[in-house]
């Protein structure tokens, strides 16, 4: 097994909520990320899926050190970068870049495309004006844009083209790792496919490693070698794409997968779905025990008191659940219900 290029161990990110004008006292903490461990190996794509507000983007920002973590460690290329200062981080940022979700907000409207893509090169002092220009035009060509568009402003481009600009910019310093935070969520489906294919091609050509964050299960399956499912700041299930999509063990992962529409009407009719009630609970005051228990159709008393530990299901497949889903696809309602209806949590 290759050495991980990025190793995140027990990362916790809490945002304190303060009140008071002069003497601010802490009245609570938003537990956005709460003890997440992830390994990313060189050359692979690791997908992180979860609902809005589950802490995916916070995790991405912690990896890129845009947030300081509350506790835990982040190791990148064998070096602990958890507590590096901004200046110490600078050389490391060459090897770790980010692609952001919103292709409209992430490009400064007052800069030209050439300046936007060339910015990392200028910041890191790579080459003369002419060299930077040549490099930028090469990058534009590489991501499928016309190098002649060097002098245009972002508003002259479509959403997909803007995301290509964002990708070109992330590639400028020839990074080893790119953290993609919902890179295609803001795009049309047809454009999504183009961008995903571009990312795959670039991965092959430049030997890139991706951390790919998204809420769209199909998108993640399409690009990822391994997948982590997040719920309310915790990883609930992890494994290769085939393992998780083939047989999800955690009821949360199963509910997400059962909600994916099936294009075959006959199959769709016989399909059992786990329909979750309510919303994701507040990360300010997360549920005790297993964080999923208030919404889980299989929850029992144990789930509200004891936090489940990650259990192996063979290979790399891990899930944190006291009562994992036994059968997949779900064939009848009994597959969904709690194993012992007598032991109700109420």
């Amino acid at each position: 097994m290759t050495e991980p290029i990025l190793r995140i161990t027990d990362v916790v990110k809490h945002f304190p909520v303060r009140r008071g004008i002069i003497f601010k006292r802490e009245i609570g903490r938003v537990q956005a990320v709460d003890g997440v461990s992830i390994d990313v190996r060189k050359g692979e794509t690791v997908g992180i899926v979860g609902e809005s507000g589950c802490g995916k983007s916070t995790l991405a920002r912690c990896i890129a050190r845009l947030h300081d973590v509350t506790s835990g460690t982040i190791e990148f290329m064998g070096r602990d970068i958890t507590n590096l200062t901004r200046n110490e981080m600078r050389p490391i940022r060459r090897d770790m870049q980010m692609v952001f979700q919103d292709p409209y907000a992430s490009l400064n409207p007052r800069l030209r495309v050439g300046q936007i893509i060339g910015e990392p090169l200028v910041i890191h002092g790579r080459g003369t004006e002419a060299e930077i220009k040549a490099r930028v035009q090469d990058l534009l060509d590489r991501v499928g844009l016309n190098p002649e568009h060097y002098n245009r402003f972002p508003h002259e481009f479509s959403g997909g083209q803007r995301q290509r600009i964002g990708i070109a910019r992330a590639l400028a310093l020839e990074p080893k790792l790119i953290v993609c935070d919902e890179p295609v969520s803001a795009l049309d489906v047809s454009v999504q496919a183009q961008i995903l294919n571009l990312l795959t091609d670039l991965q092959r050509d430049f030997d890139l490693t991706y951390v790919f964050i998204a809420h769209d299960l199909d998108v993640v399956r399409h690009v990822s070698d391994r997948v982590y499912v997040m719920y309310l700041g915790k990883i609930v299930e992890a494994g290769t794409g085939a393992e998780i999509y083939g047989h999800p063990r955690h009821p949360y992962a199963a509910s997400l997968l059962s909600a994916v529409p099936v294009p075959d009407p006959v199959l769709a009719r016989s399909k059992q779905r786990i329909v979750l009630q309510g919303d994701v609970p507040s990360p300010l005051n997360p549920p005790s025990g297993c964080r999923f228990h208030p919404r889980c159709p299989r929850a029992q008393v144990l789930c509200s008191s004891d936090e489940p530990q990650a259990t192996s299901f063979g290979g790399e497949h891990l899930a944190s659940c006291h009562f994992p889903v036994a059968r997949w696809p779900l064939a009848d309602p009994a597959d969904i219900r709690r194993p012992d209806p007598a032991a109700t949590v109420e």
Partner: protein, 308 residues
Amino acid sequence: MAAEPAISAAGGTARALAATRRTLSLIWSSRRGRIGLSILVVFTLAALLSPVLAPEDPTRDFGSEILAPPSSDHLLGTDGNGADVLSGVLIGARVSMAVGFAAAIISGVIGAFVGVVSGYYGGWIDRTLTAIDDWFLVIPFLPFAIVVATALGRVADDWPGGRVTLLIIVIGMLSWAGTSRLVRSQVLSLKERQFVERAKALGASPGWIVRKHILPNVMPLVFANTVLIVSATILAESTLAFVGLGDPLRPSWGTMLEKANDSGAVATGAWWFFLPPGIGIVLVVLGFTLVGYAIEEIVNPRLRERRG
């Protein structure tokens, strides 16, 4: 294709010129902007050319006829000293507008600097600057300006530009608080934008982010606001000059109004003495206000939509 506007200085100047031309044509496209710009062009030309245009030196050439009504010798009559009012108005335009401009630029620079620093860096820096800002917002302008201008009047006589320089500094220092408040709020919103976060992810220093990402996005706002502030600073100069704090060697419109009042022009109905400088002030203030609103409409797209 223009050569490397990304970095080269020549490209920068060419771009600035193009931007100025674009802004001017945008201002011209609204009716307000057209009226305002026309007024300002006329008065600016008059002020710039006043040494050539003015028939006499209003601070030296005193004729024998005082408070004489308009005639072929003196198109706008004479003042209480027998000097030519038309010359006074032309020279006065220069002083009034120079003070207005310079003070507004000082206020714009201080306001932008304080606003950006306070908004971007936050924390105790922000709290300190906001407190200073609050102080400048609440002190009553006129008494404070009168006190400072009086106290430093003698000292300022030896400065280049004399008391006019003093007025510029006093007015400029007292009118930046609103601008900095405006800029600060804009910066607070800008610094949370994704392109700023992205620049941080690239390893950019705070100085780089402020220069490349924050300033270019607040400058149009500062510009619009500064143009509006010129009206206020011109009025402030007139007020201070009217209460006797102007420079007697460099008379502005306010100084003329003061003299008109002192020489009893209002009581005797010598309208040619007090009306021209008064109308000058009103028109120039109107011009700057109209142009300021026109720029604000360009800068703030929400106002543009409202216009339809």
